[in-house]
Structure formats: structure tokens, C-alpha cells
Symmetry: C2
Subunit: 106 residues, 2 copies
DNA sequence: CTAGTATATCGTCAATCAACGATAAGCGAT
DNA sequence: ATCGCTTATCGTTGATTGACGATATACTAG
């Protein structure tokens, strides 16, 4: 039972939920790049669900932005809806809440 | 102003705090691997601040666990204190709270 | 000082990531 | 059907990651 002075008291519950841990890791991985955090913020702040607009705002090429969107979409954090010739992206509220809950549970 | 039906209404505030976004991305990156989430959970759940004990519990080599700990420490989520021949790791409560706050603010 | 234990670092290798330009695919309008 | 616009995908490249064994470092005990 090693213990040190500077460590805070911790709850002794024995959780170990491998699935939740994997989910948290996956969601974190999706947000492990500043550009993707930025994109998520943009989607949250704008009333519209833009897509090409993101490319205009970001200092990245269209293909790179598209790739970041793919990663966010694959993680479930974002969903894209085809709207004529363009695609309308928006945050998936439920998955974002799940992410918040997983982090809060730490 | 593209907008689509399935998207939730979002707050129109213009935040754009690049520093906070970078911080969030860095913290997420540190937790972007299941093993590191696992290690963090272990540190939170155990009353002790173990280190070699982590190696025993994880299906990874000592050097790999050490590397994961280094990444967590570099992100500030964890701190290690030398305790004789061994090192006592524990979660840095303030940084963890900052992480929670950044996620909650999404 | 030496031996033993615990942890960190090094070197390597395969795999994954991030970025880009080029190109394909989807759709509306002509 | 074709043109023009928007977005996705492909192929490439250099950088980073994750894993390991081997080794170096740090500390205690004897």
C-alpha cells in the first residue's frame, strides 16, 4: 500500500468499465487535435451547420478539413446531412453529452 | 446561412479562445489511448499512488507503462513523487478539474 | 562499495497521423 | 448531357505513436 503525502484522498470504488474507458479514449482521440476542437467549437457557436464555411475560416486545405470532419463524424460527435450540392454538419448533441458525462465521471 | 432541420439550436456566442482549445486538445491527446484512461482510473480508484503496481495490473511491459505515465505527467494530469527507490504517482486534482471544466464548457 | 530493486531512457520497428494536391463523385442549373 | 460548384476520396510524404527489449539511472540495504 504505497501512499504519499501530496496525493489527494481518492474514492476506493472498484469500477473498471472497459467499454466506457474505450469510449472515452475514442472520443478524446477525436478531439486530440486543435483543429478538430476548433471545428467543434465553430459548429457549436454558429447557428448554421455550415461546411464549406469551415474551410474558409480554417487555415487548412479543403481536403484536410474534410478529413477532420470525417474523424469527428466517425467518433459520432458530428453528423453530416446532404443538403443539395453541399453538406450540412452539426454537432450530435447526445454524443457530446455522453462525452461530458464520461469526463465528469472521472 | 445554411441551416438544416436535424440540427439543434446553438448558442451564437463568439468565443474562439485559442489557448483553451489548445489546452483541451492536449489533455484529450493524453487520454486518447485506452491504456492511459485505464491508468488514470487506477490512480483515481486506489488510495495509494502506486507505480510498479500499475505494471502488474496492466498487460503491458514496464517500459510501455512508464511511457504512458510520462505522457500523462507531461500533460499535467498526473504527478510523480520519488519515494525512496520507487515513484509514487497520483492524479493532479487541479488539472483534472480544469479538464472537466473545459469539456463542460463545450 | 556492492548488490538488488524500481523506474526512466534509448534504439528500433511497424503502424498510424496530418497535411497536401489531384481527382472523383454528387447535385442543381442550363 | 454538360457545366459549375461542393465535398469526399486517393495517393504520397514526412512526422508521430505505441510497443518492446536492452540498458542506464537512482536509491536502499548490507
Amino acid at each position: 500500500m504505497t501512499e504519499c503525502a501530496s496525493c489527494p484522498p481518492t474514492n476506493p470504488q472498484i469500477t473498471a468499465n472497459p467499454e466506457a474507458e474505450q469510449d472515452l479514449a475514442s472520443l478524446c482521440k477525436a478531439l486530440a487535435h486543435p483543429s478538430r476542437v476548433r471545428i467543434l467549437k465553430i459548429l457549436l457557436e454558429r447557428k448554421s451547420c455550415i461546411c464549406g464555411e469551415i474551410v474558409e475560416v480554417m487555415p487548412l486545405s479543403q481536403s484536410t478539413v474534410s478529413e477532420h470532419l470525417r474523424i469527428l463524424k466517425q467518433a459520432g460527435l458530428v453528423q453530416g446531412e446532404v443538403d443539395g450540392p453541399r453538406v450540412c454538419y452539426c454537432v450530435h448533441p447526445i454524443v457530446l453529452e455522453q462525452f461530458k458525462a464520461l469526463v465528469e465521471a472521472l
